[in-house]
Symmetry: C2
Subunit: 138 residues, 2 copies
């Protein structure tokens, strides 16, 4: 008996998001979501697709990553100027960033706690809180 889990298949995610399950989008969705959470750049995903025999242009990889982000399947994480990382875990969580290797890593669930929040400026509201813990070897 099969347990019903949401978004088990890439095609379901795309349908739920109102995006046509095209060959390219399906292939990229599989690479992104089929093996647990990932943190990846457009270039990395494009290389991975190409090496895996998926014929897709870099422009489409960018389009797709941006579309997935718009519909909430991904989120963008800013760790250093110049490179955009996409995170397959779109829920609120924080990151280690290895400054030496450029690797982005999730910080486990509740191991970072913000015990107090600052007063937000007049007429402003908090959208998201990003904590990046920079780490290096040794």
């Amino acid at each position: 008996m099969k347990t019903i889990r949401p978004f088990t298949h890439a095609v379901d995610r795309l349908n739920a998001a109102g995006l046509r399950p095209t060959r390219q989008r399906l292939a990229l969705a599989r690479l992104l979501f089929e093996d647990g959470n990932r943190h990846i750049t457009a270039e990395q995903l494009h290389r991975e697709a190409t090496e895996g025999g998926v014929k897709v242009s870099l422009a489409t990889v960018y389009n797709t990553l941006n579309q997935f982000t718009e519909v909430g399947l991904l989120r963008e994480v800013a760790v250093e100027a110049g490179r955009a990382y996409f995170d397959t875990n779109a829920t609120a969580h924080h990151h280690f960033f290895n400054d030496d290797t450029g690797e982005l890593l999730d910080i486990p669930g509740d191991s970072v706690v913000l015990s107090s929040l600052p007063d937000v400026p007049e007429n402003m509201v908090i959208g998201a809180i990003d904590v990046v813990v920079h780490i290096r070897n040794k």
Copy 2:
């Protein structure tokens, strides 16, 4: 009677950092440090200099911002891919980032407290912790 304060003048900062106090570096140092803390991009600083009658190339603005960062007079803050912000407060502190306007703002001293830190991966050490609180209007 004059109170002796460190780095009151731009020239002192440059000397202390072992950087020749050239016309361009002095002008940029004044713009950066003479009116309290600032968060600024290379383009912004270049425009400000140019409008203020200081003749300096964009390449030199980049060179200078990078040099100042290397010697610890500035630090770089990553808030969104594509743009590098430089912060005249190089000590540890956190930021509000206005996603609508691109304005970067200090969070007052101790109003953000990380009450617990994550276990750092094997053979790794924490370099810095950046907290960015994204805010928007209304």
